[in-house]
């Protein structure tokens, strides 16, 4: 247990106290209390930069379930530190923003901050855990708290829909990941990620490698909203804007990125990993940016843009895995992809966070986020406009903002892939830079839409619910800080290079480095006249032209029918699943006892028959059987006739009489087989039950249908089957006795040990008196039950 453990647990502890703060300090916005925590955490994590960048990682263990190898192990290396700083830093800014965004009087703040703190703790747990089971626990906690946050305004239909959708998809991925964790555990016998990395070659050889990898990727792709699992993210925009800014742009959606980066050393050498991560990432980039343009809601544009940017980072991580195929970092051009991924991860958090906050401000001050109703806000909200410009230009990749740098590096990484000569990249590899370039053009277009649609053009006050004006200063602080960071990282990118990016890259690609070596990270604006520069120029020129002519080519979006969208597929499959299961349930849960009895008997017959047949267990031996007398035959005939009469009797009374005769016949068989006690009991019980049947008769409606029982073929077959199988089993069991019976002991000892000559009775009350006790109990319960059923008939409308 170290302070690092406490840092993860602190948000949870804080969450416990939030409702009290809310209750006791009604006049102070609860957010102010909460704000302290992420700031402390940020400062605390900030101190780790120095040790981590000099290569010393912190590792600390606390016991949780040591017998299962599940330990609360925290591990602070470059990647974990980067994410921890993002989580606590942006967390602090988002909480500050939410203080002004959410009204203390109208909203249920205690719930909001409890959920948010839960999420923050869970997210810190995800990125700092070394134990995979602990990681999975926190992973599901992020899903859960995200579900709660999306459904924060739970009275709205759409919020509930979005929350449910994100829950289903991310939990599906989470469970897949759990499967992957278990498979990896089976291979390596450890839950520790660090030990797993050292065992990577063993894992590569193992048969479980591919399934484990695919399951992990499913987890990462669902969480990080990759194609085709991105559909939950746009619907998660029903959450309050601080939540969207925090969870759905900066942190939670990057948990999948984190997972991919974390497990690159384990899986990265496989060609499937390279193709899946890079391919799906680049496709998500193009797809998300293409679909962002047709959105009219600011937050929906941002959601699709998040999807596409996450695809970008994902593809870079995949491309970075290519560098693992080289022995060292000398001339290893693919490491730049990993560096670019990490750099863009930081950049995306800065500009996307600020853009979401801008969207929130616009929504807050005008009452709408619909770009068709917004316009001309530039002069009314100059500060917001400036922030939006910085964010959007950074996202579009325009110098001098940080997005430009990471986009250039992205192009470099993708172009470098053309030199990669493994896994047939030479044939299809050309698609990577092309898709990247197309995606960047669309990115440019929607970035322009975000800035210019709401802020320039004609102001239409009549369409707005409120009179727009600049946001309060407190609301602007957080986006201003983020935008300044975007500019700062844009102009001086190298403040990050060796403090954060290099250690993070070193933990993504651990075994490329020799002792004391480090990646060469130098981010510069000017690369010289290289292909990346022309690609960027092309993006800007083409993007501008396409933006100007947007209205003309906009129509192509209508070419895709609504039916073919993935959302529709999701909705339909969900409805289909519900309908299908309802149909199946209705088909077999008929509510009729006879149907269920049919299933039970059929199953019993089929299973027993199959076992008899497949094990060839049937045998029939007659040696050792007693001789059969003629009178026994005659008595058996009487009983068979009685049974048949029961079945075919026209009235119930005949059935009862026939049943009585069968019972008497049984008692005579007991006599034949020398069981006087049984015969006595059987006779009494038979008489009593016949009398009971007659008693019931009185209460039955006038002997209803006096006709025969209707003949049903299925019933006949089933009953025949049951009889046959039971007979076969009885015969086989009788023919295959394996050992002597233990009755000899009772014969010898019933007088000697128990002092009784009636052996049956001695067994009942002496050798095995325990059974008798509970048979007595059964009779007592039955008597009490009958008594209470007769006496307590409340449902008849009588007084209780």
């Amino acid at each position: 247990m170290s302070f690092l453990h406490l840092a993860i647990l602190l948000p949870f502890i804080m969450a416990l106290f939030v409702p009290f703060f809310y209750k006791w300090f009604k006049n102070i916005h609860t957010g102010w209390f909460v704000l302290i925590l992420p700031i402390i955490l940020f400062i605390y994590f900030f101190q780790y930069i120095k040790p981590v960048s000099s290569g010393s990682n912190t590792y600390s263990t606390a016991d949780w379930i040591p017998s299962l190898g599940i330990q609360l192990t925290v591990y602070m290396d470059g990647l974990g530190l980067l994410f921890a700083l993002l989580i606590s830093g942006i967390g602090a800014l988002v909480i500050l923003y939410s203080i002004y965004y959410l009204s203390g009087k109208k909203e249920e703040l205690h719930k909001f901050y409890v959920y948010l703190l839960l999420f923050m703790g869970a997210m810190l747990g995800v990125v700092l855990s070394d134990n995979m089971v602990v990681l999975y626990t926190f992973w599901e906690l992020t899903s859960l708290s995200s579900f709660l946050l999306i459904g924060y305004w739970h009275t709205r239909e759409k919020s509930r829909y979005g929350a449910l959708k994100s829950m289903l998809i991310t939990v599906f991925g989470g469970l897949c990941m759990l499967g992957g964790i278990i498979l990896l555990y089976l291979v390596t016998n450890t839950f520790s990620i660090r030990e797993m990395v050292t065992q990577a070659p063993i894992i590569m050889e193992h048969a479980y490698f591919l399934p484990a990898m695919l399951l992990f990727l499913l987890g990462a792709f669902t969480k990080s909203a990759q194609f085709p699992f991105y559909i939950w993210l746009p619907d998660a925009m029903e959450a309050p804007t601080p939540v969207s800014a925090y969870l759905h742009s900066a942190t939670m959606v990057k948990a999948g990125i984190y997972l991919t980066a974390r497990f690159t050393p384990v899986f990265g050498l496989a060609p499937e990993w390279f193709w899946l991560v890079t391919g799906i990432g680049i496709f998500t980039l193009a797809w998300g940016s293409f679909h962002a343009i047709k959105q009219t809601d600011l937050k929906a544009i941002l959601a699709f843009s998040t999807v596409s940017q996450l695809g970008l980072i994902m593809s870079l991580l995949g491309a970075g895995a290519a560098s693992l195929h080289f022995e060292s970092i000398d001339n290893n051009v693919f490491t730049i992809a990993t560096v670019a991924a990490i750099f863009h991860l930081i950049n995306h958090a800065t500009f996307k966070g600020s853009l979401f906050m801008v969207a929130g401000i616009v929504d807050h001050e005008t009452g709408t986020r619909d770009i068709r109703r917004l316009g001309g806000l530039m002069t009314l909200m100059p500060i917001t406009f400036t922030i939006a410009i910085i964010g959007a230009f950074s996202m579009a990749g325009i110098p001098p903002f940080n997005g430009f740098l990471s986009k250039e590096m992205f192009f470099t990484g993708m172009v470098n892939l053309l030199e990669f000569d493994l896994f047939n990249v030479d044939t299809w590899g050309i698609l990577f830079p092309i898709l990247a370039w197309i995606g960047s053009i669309f990115t440019f277009i929607y970035s322009m839409i975000i800035v210019f649609k709401p802020f320039t053009g004609k102001h239409q006050p009549e369409k707005l619910e409120k009179k727009p004006h600049e946001a309060p200063f407190g609301m602007l602080i957080s986006p201003i800080i983020l935008a300044s960071l975007a500019v700062l990282f844009g102009i001086f990118p190298n403040v990050l290079s060796y403090s954060l990016i290099e250690p993070a890259a070193a933990s993504v690609l651990p075994y490329l480095l020799e002792e004391g070596e480090s990646f060469h990270v130098h981010i510069s604006h000017w690369h010289g006249f290289k292909i990346e520069l022309f690609m960027t120029l092309g993006v800007i020129v083409l993007g501008l032209l396409l933006y100007i002519w947007l209205a003309k080519w906009n129509k192509i979006y209508r070419l895709f029918p609504q039916k073919w969208t993935l959302n529709n597929a999701y909705d339909r499959s969900l409805r289909g699943l519900e309908k299908g299961s309802l149909k199946i349930q209705e088909a077999y849960m008929t509510g009729f006892l006879r149907d269920y009895l049919g299933y039970i008997f059929t199953f019993a017959v089929l299973m027993t028959g199959w076992a008899l047949f497949s094990k060839s267990a049937f045998s029939f031996k007659t040696d050792g059987n007693a001789p059969v007398g003629v009178y026994e035959f005659v008595l058996a005939a009487v009983m068979v006739a009685g049974t048949v009469t029961v079945l075919f009797a026209k009235s119930r009374l005949t059935s009862i009489i026939a049943l009585g005769s069968v019972g008497y016949g049984v008692s005579l068989f007991f006599v034949f087989f020398r069981a006087p006690d049984l015969a006595l009991t059987q006779l009494v019980i038979e008489t009593v039950s016949v009398a009971l049947f007659l008693l019931c008769f009185y209460y039955l409606p006038e002997l209803q249908k006096r006709e025969k029982l209707p003949f049903k073929l299925t019933n006949f077959i089933i009953s025949l089957g049951v009889g046959t199988v039971v007979t076969l089993v009885a015969l086989s069991a009788n023919s295959q006795r394996v050992s002597e019976t233990i009755s000899k002991y009772f014969i010898e000892n019933s007088y000697k040990e128990a002092g009784g000559k009636n052996m049956v009775n001695v067994i009942l009350v002496d050798f095995r008196g325990f059974d008798t006790l509970f048979e007595i109990t059964v009779l007592g319960i039955a008597a009490l039950g009958i008594f209470s059923m007769i006496k307590l008939r409340m449902s008849r409308g009588e007084k209780s």
Binding site: Y631, V638, T645, L653, S667, L668, P676, A679, T687, V690
Partner: protein, 94 residues
């Protein structure tokens, strides 16, 4: 010889039970069937007695007595049912 006689009487009793049973199944009215059941009970007494002799045991004498009682009770119960439609009359119901 003695055993032969015993077996023969058992067989005769069994066959007579079979005939009673025919009456029980066929019997046009319910009283026919009840009487058949009663007679089957008495036949069982006979068979039990013969079996006891064959097996040289007196363990089944209880059974004979019980059969006698039960056959009587059963027949009475049936008769009462046929007569009044119920077996145990509840005074308060009337």
């Amino acid at each position: 010889m003695f055993d032969m006689v015993m077996m023969l009487s058992l067989l005769i009793l069994a066959v007579s039970t079979l005939f009673y049973f025919y009456r029980l199944v066929k019997g046009p009215t319910v009283p026919d069937r009840v009487v058949a059941l009663d007679a089957i009970g008495i036949n069982l007494i006979g068979m039990t007695a013969v079996i006891s002799v064959v097996l040289k045991t007196n363990a089944f004498l209880d059974v004979i007595l019980l059969l006698g009682i039960l056959a009587f009770i059963g027949t009475v119960a049936f008769s009462k049912f046929l007569e009044k439609g119920e077996i145990i009359e509840n005074d308060r119901d009337q």
